[in-house]
């Protein structure tokens, strides 16, 4: 992530009632580039069906764009984006006018990093990832958010910042969420092994 940081861009003002302006565009574009992983992972974890993914993704982007004027640099950009995305995804409801375009369930998981050696290993890793996403989607909303943040390698402190929970509580809740995930993955991993 060698792109420009948010400090390289002048922010007009911090007011939650403001609309985003042209001044916010460079920052928005940079964040999309640097943190698109968050948006994509949240979409994959929270869209109830693959056909809803495009709607949810658009909603996440829209909320980030709309909330940009209220970004006050009190939080790291990634923390701020996680907050916006998770708040939006947790309370998101499928749009009335669903898009007709269908997305194949595994189409966007087709790429697995090249450090997984053989095609067979790659296929296995892709299958595991698909099952992992399916298991995450089967978790209750709050556990889904915690598991996603933990899998992304965030520390308890950062997760606490995003969720508003205490660090101790994050630890307890995360242990429980991991246990649920392990139960959901049990049958799957037996198949894969």
């Amino acid at each position: 992530m060698g792109g420009k940081s948010c400090k390289d861009f002048p922010l007009p003002a911090t007011n939650s009632l403001m609309s985003p302006s042209a001044n916010h565009e460079p920052l928005f574009k940079t964040w999309l580039e640097e943190h698109r992983g968050i948006i994509i992972k949240v979409t994959r974890s929270f869209a109830p069906a693959p056909s809803d993914a495009a709607d949810l993704q658009q909603e996440l982007l829209l909320q980030i764009w709309l909330s940009l004027p209220s970004y006050a640099r009190q939080a790291k950009p990634s923390t701020w984006i996680y907050r916006v995305c998770l708040n939006t995804a947790l309370t998101w409801r499928r749009g009335t006018f669903r898009r007709e375009r269908r997305i194949e369930p595994a189409a966007d998981l087709a790429h697995i990093a090249s450090d997984v050696a053989s095609p067979a290993d790659r296929a296995g890793a892709r299958e595991l990832l698909e099952k992992l996403y399916a298991a995450i989607r089967a978790l209750p909303g709050s556990e889904r958010a915690l598991v996603l943040l933990s899998l992304d390698g965030l520390a308890y402190r950062e997760i606490a910042d995003i969720t508003g929970l205490t660090e101790n509580h994050v630890g307890v809740a995360l242990t429980r969420a991991r246990k649920h995930l392990a139960e959901l993955m049990k049958g799957v991993t037996n198949e894969l092994e």
Binding site: L32, G37, W65, R83, N87, S142, G153, I162, L165, T166
Partner: protein, 215 residues
């Protein structure tokens, strides 16, 4: 397989190379949503805020035309203005208390739940702050007009009018239409509570309870 395997698989996922959306498309969507929302809010605020003011203006004009005998219309004006002021106060309160999605999850959920409880209470108590004052104002208006009629119309003409079926028919129609309108508004708001607010409240409270359950 354990958590570390999941983490490894998670980190191995490659993300699409292209940015998830182009800014122009996003801005167009935002602009079109913003325009629609602004038009809807403007229409709602105009109807809610100005309807009471308009009716108050009509009552005031009638009071001025009729003279001091129509003094009870002052009460009707006060009731209608009260409804308008209540609407404006609510609009300002909602605007000031709104939390954006950049707030931590728990704080946002708590704020959303509090707001939904408030909305639910408002709609369940519609009689206290909306239907009651409006019905009261309408009742005062009708009774004042009848009183003026008794005072100002010659007794023979009045007796003739009371005997005319058209007058009774008109009074009955007005009564039924007003009752139907009030019932419709009440039903519409009840439906909004049952179909929209309560399911959403259950959903958000469950989410919050899940988040807090280990505490």
């Amino acid at each position: 397989m354990n958590w570390n395997d999941y983490e490894t698989a998670w980190k191995c996922q490659e993300l699409p190379v292209a940015a998830p959306a182009d800014l122009t498309g996003l801005k167009d969507t935002f602009e079109s949503k913003r325009r629609k929302m602004a038009a809807t809010l403007f229409a709602r605020d105009l109807i809610e805020g100005s309807a009471g003011l308009f009716v108050s203006g009509v009552y005031a004009r009638m009071w001025w035309l009729i003279g001091k005998d129509a003094w009870p219309l002052a009460l009707a004006i006060a009731l209608m203005l009260g409804v308008s002021v209540f609407f404006i106060r609510e609009r300002i309160r909602t605007h000031c208390n709104r939390l954006g999605p950049q707030t931590p999850l728990l704080a946002k959920l708590t704020a959303d739940i509090t707001e939904l409880h408030h909305q639910r209470n408002l709609l369940l108590n519609l009689w206290k702050w909306y239907l009651g004052p409006i019905t009261g104002a309408m009742g005062i208006f009708v009774l004042t007009m009848l009183r003026i009629a008794v005072l100002r119309i010659r007794s023979e003409t009045l007796a003739m009018l009371w005997r005319h079926p058209l007058v009774w028919g008109l009074l009955l129609f007005t009564l039924i239409a007003a009752t139907a309108l009030i019932w419709f508004v009440w039903k519409l708001n009840r439906r909004a509570v049952q179909k929209q607010i309560e399911p959403r409240l259950v959903e958000l409270e469950k989410l919050r309870a899940d988040l807090l359950s280990a505490q």
